[in-house]
């Protein structure tokens, strides 16, 4: 980093209130290069689709039913120069989203607008013809990707050098090893001079040296202010390379914000962090906090991602047996990284009287502070009349708050001044 000595440490303080700010909005002055609004993608079950004329007539009124929504109502805006990681479990819709943004699949709903030349590395060397030489394939592939002959002539040496295949460039591609094949494909794709690079898991192939090279190239693209969107299962990669993460789950975008927060959420949802709470004398307790959910307002659909300034409702589900105390007292702690309590919420002093069976206690936070991180919840239940503890439970369900700051739990306003 060769920034001038007095540059603000991370990011200049934003003068406006927190409402304006969100990780999703590109920094001022950088135009949106990809905008998806209300994008949904439905796949019709294959066995139902008429693939012959006969079926077309026979099953004209096939019942709609087991259609599959790979994406639902995705809204996303990506600004020039952002590096965005797309993560989620298998089948969560990552690759479908990438293909929709690349213009290969048509969204069933909504609209995608793209501003700039796209290079999509959905598969390296797609369209190579094994019978042709590497040289011919470079010309053909680059031509498919939108380059003119003159441009290819100019870039040819650079492509060959990048692929490190000069000695084989006039051999037929069918005699290449799979690694060499991929290297040539990557070399062509990155030389298309894309404004937007879409990468789908292709970094998983090739040897270590090649992967290193790919990552270096992506880092170079990043520094040149190009927009990069990549799908990967490597959350470490996202943490180290991306400005932003989009987490998909069953076609819904459940998180859009800082990689540090998103990866933590995803790890928890993928089960690499324990999701079950630990109860102290929990099984026998007459009052059990059975679940914690997060939403905007009481009763609205659960969500895990919040922005500073937004309303948050922490709903605690309680299960009371017949011999539960008449008044119970709840103590809720929001826990940050390293088990640091961030804030605490409790029921009024006299306690509440839920009665036997299931009930829900909502804690409504009207305005979230400027936090950055993913947070867990610790719950302690006690008897409001005696003050005796009943049970305690730590929940690993997390919610994330995407503050604007690059790092640090809190954001404060400050000025940097030079004094001599």
């Amino acid at each position: 980093m060769s920034s001038p000595p007095l540059a603000p440490p991370a990011q200049p303080a934003q003068p406006d209130g927190p409402d304006r700010a969100a990780a999703q909005v590109p920094p001022p002055g950088s135009p949106t290069v990809i905008r998806a609004s209300g994008v949904g993608k439905k796949f019709v079950a294959y066995h139902k689709r008429a693939t012959s004329l006969k079926e077309r007539f026979v099953r004209r009124e096939a019942a709609a039913g087991d259609d599959f929504w790979a994406l639902r109502d995705i809204d996303v805006q990506i600004g020039r120069g952002q590096t965005v990681g797309l993560a989620g479990a298998n089948g969560s819709g990552k690759s479908t989203l990438l293909k929709v943004l690349a213009g290969i699949l048509r969204p069933t709903h909504g609209e995608v607008a793209v501003n700039g030349r796209i290079a999509s590395l959905l598969e390296l060397g797609a369209g190579f013809n094994g019978e042709l030489s590497g040289r011919d394939n470079v010309y053909l592939n680059a031509s498919l990707l939108g380059l003119s002959k003159r441009e290819i002539d100019r870039l040819f040496d650079s492509i060959v050098d990048f692929s490190e295949l000069r000695h084989k460039i006039d051999d037929e591609v069918k005699h290449y090893s799979s690694g060499q094949y991929v290297r040539l494909g990557f070399a062509v794709a990155v030389h298309v001079d894309p404004d937007i690079l879409l990468v789908d898991e292709v970094l998983a192939v090739g040897d270590e040296a090649f992967q290193r090279k790919c990552l270096d190239k992506i880092a170079q693209f990043r520094s040149e202010g190009r927009t990069i969107l990549f799908v990967t299962h490597s959350l470490d990669l996202i943490e180290s390379m991306c400005d932003r993460i989009l987490v998909l789950e069953s076609g819904n975008m459940i998180f859009d914000g800082q990689p540090a927060v998103g990866t933590k959420l995803l790890r928890q949802r993928l089960g690499s962090l324990p999701a079950e709470g630990v109860a102290v004398p929990y099984d026998l307790a007459p009052v059990k906090p059975t679940a914690v959910t997060f939403s905007r307002s009481p009763g609205s659909p659960a969500q895990v991602q919040y922005d500073p300034g937004e309303q948050l409702t922490v709903s605690v589900e309680l299960d009371l047996t017949e011999n539960a105390p008449p008044f119970v007292y709840l103590h809720v702690e929001i826990m940050g990284q390293g088990e640091v309590p961030i804030w605490m919420m409790e029921t009024p002093a006299g306690g509440i009287s839920p009665g036997p069976g299931l009930s829900v206690v909502d804690f409504v936070v009207p305005r979230l502070p400027e936090l950055l991180g993913a947070f867990a919840v610790n719950i302690r239940v006690s008897d409001a009349s005696t003050g005796q503890p009943v049970t305690a439970r730590r929940f690993e369900d997390l919610f994330g708050v995407s503050g604007l700051q690059v790092a640090g739990l809190l954001r404060v306003d400050y000025e940097a001044r030079l004094r001599r």
Partner: protein, 317 residues
Amino acid sequence: MSRVADLSTLPPSPPPGQGGPSPAQRPRTSRSGARHVDHRSRAQTRVRWELLRNLVRKDLKVKYKGSTLGFAWSLANPLLLLVVYTFVFQVVLDTGIPRFGIYLMSGLLVWNAFSGSVSAACGAVVANANLVKKVRFPLLVLPLSAVGFSAVHFLLQLLVLFVVILGLGYSLFGPELLLLVPAGVVALLFTVALSVLLAALNVRYRDTQHLLDVALVAWFWINPMVYAYGLIQNQLNDWTWVYLLNPMAVVVVTFQRAIYDPPPGNTTANGSASVIADTGYVFYLEHLAIAGLISLAMLWLGLRVFRRFQADFAEDL
């Protein structure tokens, strides 16, 4: 989840709501409903000559790679047909057409180019499934390059035919040779139209290819290539115009007029039927105009269907 952003470079956002804008109010979009704003991204969706040329060159290279005779093989098929049909239609069943070989070839070459193009184009998108599913490029180049591939062969075969005609000492150059220009244009229009249409249909309805194979066999016989045109006229009389609604029949008879030198009186050996359709020019120009209009209508339909279907190619493949 929608937020304010600087979208000065993008058209205004559609109103939020269930399911996005209705198709009627949605602006015209390219493949996949994605709108690509600047010229750099349009280079990836527009059909470019250079790309077309590269694809045709690739197909030629792949086809003749490692074969010693190379391009000469493209003459093998018409030569074989020449031998077989000459034997059948001049020796076994005497059609009474003088210089039958030249008569046959002047119509057959353009028909072969047509049927070869259409047949290859029909499978072009399906054959390139991997590419279509992974790379964004102007999909229209797939059927078009199949047409280009056949066109290259056709031109070379025509050249060989000319050389043979001159070598045998027959006359070739005359004003009628100019008819090749409008006939070639109509043939190209009609071929492109059908190729584009079938390429798109075949992605969704795979029966198209099989249907086409059968249709082409029948279609071959409703062009006057191995029999004299007059035989049809004698049968259909006032209804001959129906026969000529087939643009390929018009193209074939025009090619014959342009290349083949009819015998005196333009009749077969026994004098029962005329060999070529007409010895003037107006007949051909009139019918080419009609065939041209039919082809343009087909082209409009073909492009429309292709544009409509192509957004779902990646999904249907």
